[in-house]
Symmetry: C2
């Protein structure tokens, strides 16, 4: 019986801003993690985190400390006996909920802690998280989901039917992933901070390495966006997918106008074309880009979608063609399960958001579980891949020919190397002196 004795929080920041890595139309910063360790009376430490953009990482750290009372002193058995109730003890805390509700800092901090509990559970089970989830009974999985405020779109009975159906053919899908890995795409070719020559070189290199799907940032000067799209499309030819990501910078009509010009480069999706909260705006843009491209292009979003209620509406309103769940923007694995089930209910593929610090490590588990048990298709499914900061993790992602190899270590691949924590702790670590 594993008991959580204390919660350690580390403010870990990597000085990424200098190189222009990660720069887009909205965000420029130092990739950081609010890193949580659940100390137990057993052999395992539960690791979880949320990703932030540098300054302000101390705020999410403070939020983790405020929420830590919901796990400290409790046994893993207690927390997993009614997983949705545990999740709600954080997300619906009667005092802290006001600070969201279920969004922003407080959702992200909840995610760090809930993810750490899942990491601990998977380590205790001796299984990678994807496997732990895939082997759970339908009843156990449904018990993880908080249906509050989504029951008009997804009932427990519907979730049960989806998960039961997901048992059919599961061994074949697992054998396929074990053999081939999981499809992915690369975002490392076209950050806004990069000059044209670097973009051209990176696109050429990515294609040579086997990538057949890559993403560029847009939302700067439209003329620049058009020129860079032309450079990349020329390098990768017509057989590779080109995704575009505006990081919310456009207004609704501006997005439609911009896509009118960018459609010439056959974009596969336009990501975050406008404000993340704008369900109705995304719906208008989704219809418009489908019209501009004969249905070839669609809207993708999700990396800053606050919670299952936003995803529910994006799906109800036919506002997106790709669900980009993030592993720790929302309140952790339980909330992600709700979003995977919603996506399956509406028949929309999930392509998790990654990059940042450790997001690739986490979302591979989500995508694999989704294929094995929920979405059950690889059609239109890809995991984002960004080649940053993996060296700081004990169990880093492994890719081959543009595909993620199945993680095989117990846990959620969330454990950061102690040396990295020490080196990059803010402000006292040597990297910041």
């Amino acid at each position: 019986m594993t008991r959580i004795e204390s919660v350690d929080v580390h403010d870990v920041r990597f000085p990424t801003s200098a190189a222009g890595d990660g720069s887009d139309a909205i965000n420029r910063g130092d990739y950081s993690a609010t890193y949580v360790e659940l100390r137990t009376d057993g052999p395992h430490v539960g690791a979880g985190f949320t990703f932030t953009n540098g300054r302000g990482n101390e705020i999410t750290c403070a939020a983790v400390r405020a929420l830590a009372r919901h796990v400290t002193g409790r046994t893993l058995a207690e927390l997993t006996a009614d997983p949705a109730a545990f999740s709600r003890s954080l997300t619906a805390d009667p005092q802290l909920r006001w600070l969201g509700p279920e969004k922003g800092v407080i959702a992200m901090a909840s995610g760090a802690l809930i993810n750490a509990v899942w990491d601990l559970r998977a380590k205790c089970a001796g299984a990678p998280l994807w496997q732990l989830l895939a082997e759970m009974s339908t009843e156990e999985l449904v018990a993880c989901v908080d249906f509050h405020h989504i029951s008009d779109a997804l009932t427990p009975a519907e979730a049960t039917a989806i998960l039961d159906k997901g048992l059919v053919g599961l061994p074949d899908r697992l054998a396929e992933l074990t053999r081939d890995g999981f499809p992915s795409y690369t975002t490392s070719v076209g950050w806004l901070g990069y000059p044209d020559d670097k973009v051209r070189g990176l696109a050429r290199q990515a294609y040579a390495e086997g990538w057949r799907a890559m993403k560029m940032k847009v939302g700067g000067d439209l003329g620049d966006d058009v020129r860079r799209a032309g450079i990349i499309r020329a390098e990768i030819g017509t057989d590779a997918l080109l995704m575009m990501d505006a990081n919310q910078v456009w207004d609704v009509d501006e997005a439609i106008t911009a896509m009118g010009r960018l459609a010439a480069f056959d974009p596969y999706w336009i990501e975050e074309p406008t404000h993340a909260d704008d369900v109705l705006g995304h719906a208008r843009i989704n219809q418009a880009v489908a019209g501009l491209t004969g249905g070839r292009c669609r809207v993708a979003t999700g990396e800053v979608a606050a919670n299952r209620v936003i995803f529910k509406q994006l799906l109800q309103a036919d506002a997106i063609g790709v669900v980009q769940v993030d592993a720790c923007r929302v309140a952790g694995v339980n909330e992600v399960l709700a979003e995977l089930l919603l996506a399956a209910k509406f028949g929309i593929p999930v392509c998790p958001h990654a990059g940042g610090v450790g997001l690739c490590e986490l979302v591979q588990h989500i995508a694999v579980f989704d294929y094995l048990r929920v979405g059950t298709s690889l059609d239109g499914r890809m995991i984002e891949y960004v080649d940053h900061l993996h060296e700081h993790f004990e169990d880093p992602v492994r890719t081959q020919d543009g595909r993620y190899l199945l993680p095989d270590q117990p846990g959620y691949s969330a454990t950061m190397r102690p040396a990295s924590i020490a080196e990059f702790s803010f402000p006292e670590g040597p990297a910041w002196q």
Copy 2:
């Protein structure tokens, strides 16, 4: 030329939870303020705050400290030269935006700071905030609004037309408010924590005091809600308005079912019937309650609506019949101006959310300015009134016969008494020892 030399942040908490005051279907806590003082080289201190529910107030304090760099060392003249740009320096900070975006802790902390700048500006002008705003030129007011992500619903030209129209008849409206005060309603009659006898006595007392509009909390056991609604309606007769507030506890279909029973008590509005992010859900409920009541009842929401993009959609989707802006849930006066203009564009009345700590003190300025210059009607307009904690403010609200009297002191009525700050500072104040 006033320069802001430093930003002091106080974690002030009032132990309100013991009495059941402020208890509703979702929230139970100790009413608290993240209280900000802008220290200047001049005679005035700019005061601002955001309201929280107790635990977690230290998180919004940390967020204020992270954002303080955008005001420290700057002159009031610099900050007011391009007010929308100043507002965006906080709400679109390239590192801190990730923690929202424009929602939750980071929006609330932005609100505390931006409100403090407006308080300082009004004090320096020697005018109450409502008067400062009402006397600004249309051009100056439009320059305060960030139209980013709302231009599909409200353009600068449309805002200009609304504000120009608001100049017509302004002296008459001001004379009317000076003579009669501003209509309001009371929320102090029916908190969920109160027993039936207390509810009955408070409803009787409120009616005797002249209140002809009052609000009860619903969203507990439906049978209890129905019984309490009956008690209140019996006390106040058919001529007084009865509003109901579910504080987001219901799912969409549950809300429609519950209102099917509560409609018997002629509710004037149902407030926060479901999750604050659920634009499409509110739209369904709004149509349903209109149908149940022959158009007499409508949906009201806004106290935790994160930003202008959510309000824009609520209005676009015909999801609400009352806009309940909050003074410090969103990023302060600038964001509120956008919301008032959006409401006017769509012809929906604004009834600001109040209560908590100091919210009544702030929103009276918003409602008065809205009547004078934006909405220009009192039809369906009321300011919420809760009889809590006013004694801690230097310039507390004054009410008479169920109406707010016009505030007449310079500033935003945000200044807290030094003795209250000292007594209730957490955790070191005597009240918490």
